[in-house]
Symmetry: C2
Subunit: 276 residues, 2 copies
């Protein structure tokens, strides 16, 4: 897996007699509040599941965030719940000091790559109908975009691992929240690691929450990630959108499009608005 | 709970010594393919969780559908994973003949009702900021709408339990799929039961899949339901949308708005396209 930060930090290895894994969470994926990023922990669960599942590709991963994680030793219990002919289901629990931090459930299968199994001209490919009511964000090329200076994030070490580029600096950063909790931007690992299905559960949760544009902060309760295609190498074009903030909660939707213009991941999280 | 079909059919009762529940799935919630509706099974899991959780309201429920269910005896194992000060997490497994059919995970809390805890005029209510980038579907009144005749569904008994009304009959029913996998319609229980948080996991999965408008069928792999507010009595205005069908999968988003114009549930599922 090379020496990429994501692979090193999400590594799991067999430990104990019960089929469990050990892991070591690092402080290299902390968000603005100094907490270990939830997507990083969910990706670590997904990696452990991948070692147990009879199919290579996660197609949907659901994670519940029970407690904050901390840099340091962790364990992952994982098990196959059901193994079918073309799809298998598994669950994982990331624990620290004997307490569950994240509970994850996932379905794995063999996911076609759009490049390998594209649609015929009539829209019906080998894998059935194709319908796309959406396009990648229309962004200037990454070289013409700007990013929030990493140093300005203070404790947010995740900003050193993942690069973001947008047409203009976000309103929340300029001290002028736009009132519109939506954004479009480029994203990639800073150390050159290409995105894959295992890293997408991290990437979809790696940005500042959209509600910063409302002057609010939030914490993720649950995150569901659909993995729709193997990403092509290169920058990912992303779209984050919150449509409903009410009763102290909000959803946040996230789309990830690869450099070939294919939708590779779609996620939604429910988050709890934090007191000011 | 009265004699409403939903309450009777999703009832669970203590059984065995390990804190488990028994249930009896009925054939009154079958879909067009004659299978027990997934949302009905997820609602049954949610009901069992509700009996164990220290807070009354599900705020997010995630279900994975491992095997088809069948009318007949079932069991539900459920447990509290974590109980915090304002939120608790639990998991449930619906089993038949010793095999897991549905795996559910949920977070419960005490959910404000928009009517009780609405926002102040400046958009910041007792529960924090409010932002709504969406409105209920603009539908003619239910009395001016039409519904697919129940008898035309053949085996689809769920159509006898839940009423749907839309401005015009769906294209797939008229033998002319529209090519647009999206719809807006009214929905309510046929026997007069009002919707509540416990029944919404069923209701968001109770309609024909949007991809019927592409001439395709599908089966749900995973369903995440966000419960955003206690519904007011009356008809529910719903919007179902599929934006991306690719690689043999599609997502389906569902919004439920109550008679007071409040968004009460938002769900997304990942479904597998079935061979023609």
């Amino acid at each position: 897996m090379g020496d990429y930060a994501f692979d090193t930090d999400s590594r799991v290895w067999p430990a104990g007699a019960d089929g469990g894994f050990a892991a070591e969470l690092t402080d290299r994926w902390n968000g603005t509040a100094g907490a270990v990023n939830g997507g990083y922990m969910l990706a670590t669960c997904t990696r452990a599941l991948g070692l147990a599942m009879p199919f290579p590709d996660p197609v949907v991963v659901s994670g519940f965030f029970l407690r904050p994680g901390a840099a340091g030793p962790a364990a992952v219990r994982s098990s196959v719940i059901r193994s079918g002919r073309t799809m298998a289901f598994g669950e994982a629990a990331l624990t620290q000091d004997g307490k569950d931090i994240v509970r994850a459930t996932a379905a794995f299968a063999r996911l076609g790559s759009a490049a390998r199994e594209g649609s015929d001209r009539d829209g019906a490919g080998r894998d059935g109908p194709v319908f796309l009511d959406g396009t990648p964000p229309a962004l200037p090329p990454p070289v013409e975009c700007v990013g929030v200076p990493v140093a300005s994030f203070g404790l947010a070490s995740i900003a050193e691992r993942i690069e973001f580029r947008s047409a203009e600096l976000p309103g929340w950063f300029r001290g002028q929240p736009s009132g519109r909790p939506a954004s479009e931007f480029w994203m990639r690992f800073a150390d050159g690691r290409e995105a894959d299905l295992l890293s997408l559960p991290l990437l979809v949760d790696s940005t500042a929450p959209s509600v910063l544009e409302l002057g609010a902060g939030s914490t993720t309760i649950q995150l569901t990630v659909h993995l729709r295609a193997h990403p092509a190498p290169g920058w990912l074009a992303c779209r984050a959108t919150t449509r409903f903030v009410s009763n102290g909660y909000h959803e946040e939707d996230f789309e990830v499009w690869d450099s070939a213009g294919t939708l590779v991941a779609q996620s939604r999280q429910l988050a709890l608005i934090l007191p000011p």
